[in-house]
Amino acid sequence: MKKLFYVLWIIGLLLGGIGVFQRLTTGHLLAGYGSRVVWGLWVAMYIYFIGLSAGAFLLSSLVYVFRIKMFEKVGKLALVTALITLVCALLAIWFDLGHMWRAYEVITRPNLPSSMMAWMIWLYTAYFILLLAETFYAFKLENNNDSAQKEALSKKLRLLGSIGIPLAIAFHGGVGALFGVVSSNPMWHSALTPIFFLVGAIASGSALFTMIVAFFWEERNSAYFDEMMQLLAKIVLISVLFDLLLEWAELSIALWMGSPEHTFGYREMLFGEYWYVFWILHILLGVMVPVFLLATRKKPFAIGLASLLVVFTFIGVRLNIVIPGLVTEKIHGEATAYIHPRLSYHYFPSSMEWLVAIFIVSVGIGLFVIGNRYLKLTQPKHSLNS
């Protein structure tokens, strides 16, 4: 089993390497997006991973800020998960830039306060530094046996975590606002967009975390493990259902009386070429099956499977924010005014995009495996107050 995993991982990395090579040598020439559907798979992956990171981080705050005893053994795991998914997110958006080597400009010459993208970048830079500091202290705390020092360290962690909560909310809400403020795009331009991003972050982030605990936690035959699984299952279940509610709110309001400009993207999402991303990937595999499993089954394996489904299908939710928002002509007749593949409203990720996506996921998995080997994330050790 382990061997198979490593073989698959190496194949992923190699295939991904081909994509990265193509991207670095030919720029965006082999990409499937164009000047109409300007953002594609990589941007969807970016908001997907950023969501996972914010969600996992908010879970870690249950340990370090609210000091919920139940989770204290998994605090570090949540923090490292948040860190790794953030790295994946940044990789995805880095490959998406037209000029990758100018990325530093977002720090040296940000267009503040008007650009939401500049805000987002500054906020997640701060978040990244905070995450590093918090992870560092979390490990220090664990390897410390002096109770006075322990107390001081957990105070520090609590402070960092408390700063982290508004920061995580602000920066992920900011990613949502990046879309929400685009007033020329009626599908994105909704006050619900940032909230939708946040709830999605909690749903997908907590599912990722639950999946990792369910499958990799080493001390399996304990009452503690079972209890923790039940609580995690509840968090995932509630957040997935709440996310669905918000989705319904957005969709129903738009479709009921919306102008064609507003509803075209939604109709494409529901009944267009890629209807299965919404109905099969998201609704069936990402909501109905997991909700059924979480509500009726108590076994860690079932909970893990449900969470795995939520995590993997959530990329569909993210794709359905980015792509349908871009398939509507903003001026009637645009689609036929000048014909060129780059000016088409049709998008499917190219092989290079898929390969780079595989690379990013492989890097994330690799980082996790290495992290787990050296940092022993999935092994219980001392607790906070022992």
């Binding site: 040598t25 720029g27 965006h28 953002w39 000029h99 009637h332 005014a337 780059r342």
Partner: protein, 291 residues
């Protein structure tokens, strides 16, 4: 203290009533003259031809507009306000401007600054057609510049919205923000792609922003950048009209300094029946459509 105030009030009331009375009785005598005067100054005559509007004191309207441009160039840059008007009654939908623009700016495949949108009205075979050339609107309140994370795209002092190719990181956020879907991404495509030999015209540099831009390597600007219409800034600075204007076979385009009441463009925009696209967005386009 009280007396002068009272006095002045009474004085005012008396004067006012006398004037009102006089006005009421005498107004019919003056009204005619006043009307004719306002006719000439304020009331717009939407059916007026452009020739009569300009007073017929020109031989070639394009030369006159070129003079307007040169006159504007003598002013400091922040006092110029470049604007364009497109006569939808005259546009024949030939795409000459589209092609001229591609040639002038050496645009690669898939990048177009001035598509002409063609709208069919009615059902086949009983149809009529309308054409709408669509350059950048050079909005007075451009949403595209607001969103740029690095301030690479901005509105110049003369109102032209530009992209600094050497700063733009190619995030394409501005493209999503433009309500007119004007902006294009340069993917680095070449006309000769797929040919066994390189096509000569792919080697032609673009002279946008008065610099020389070649297309040799991927990710060398302008490849990997967002591109847009500049009102042919590089030509304007030399006192020439935008290329689309000089090529238009129908003479459907007008250009000049909106801040100069004597310019052709200012007269057209203030006197004829013009409109702008998506007025409700509040972007205040400086490209007007004569309808």
């Amino acid at each position: 203290m009280d007396t002068p105030k009272k006095n002045s009030r009474r004085e005012f009331l008396t004067k006012f009533s006398v004037a009102a009375l006089a006005g009421a009785t005498l107004s019919p005598l003056f009204s005619k003259e006043q009307d004719t005067e306002s006719d000439a100054v304020e009331v717009r005559n939407f059916t007026e031809s452009i020739e009569s509007l300009l007073g017929g004191d020109y031989t070639n309207i394009k030369l006159k507009m070129q003079d307007d441009v040169r006159r504007a160039l003598k002013k400091p840059v922040d006092q110029r306000r470049w604007g364009m008007a497109i006569d939808l009654r005259k546009c024949v939908g030939c795409n000459a401007c589209t092609v001229a623009c591609i040639s002038e700016n050496a645009l690669p495949p898939g990048v177009v600054y001035r598509p002409v949108i063609k709208e069919e009205i009615g059902t086949y075979p009983n149809v009529s057609k309308r054409n709408l050339p669509k350059p950048c609107m050079h909005c007075e309140e451009p949403p595209c510049t607001e969103v740029c994370p690095v301030g690479a795209t901005y509105k110049r002092k003369d109102g032209i919205v530009v992209v600094d190719y050497e700063t733009c990181i190619g995030c394409r956020y501005c493209m999503t923000a433009c309500p007119y879907e004007h902006r294009m991404f340069d993917f680095g495509e070449k006309y000769g792609d797929g040919l066994p030999f390189p096509a000569k015209y792919d080697e032609r540099p673009s002279f946008e922003y008065e610099k020389e831009w070649k297309r040799d390597k991927p990710e060398e600007s302008p490849i990997g950048n967002v591109r847009k219409c500049t009102f042919c800034l590089h030509r304007l600075e030399e006192g020439l009209l935008p290329q689309c204007l000089t090529t238009c076979i129908a003479g459907a385009n007008y250009f000049g300094d909106l801040n100069d009441p004597d310019s052709v463009i200012a007269k057209i925009v203030s006197r004829l029946n013009v409109t702008v696209l998506k007025k409700e967005m509040g972007t205040k386009p400086k490209v007007y459509y004569i309808i």
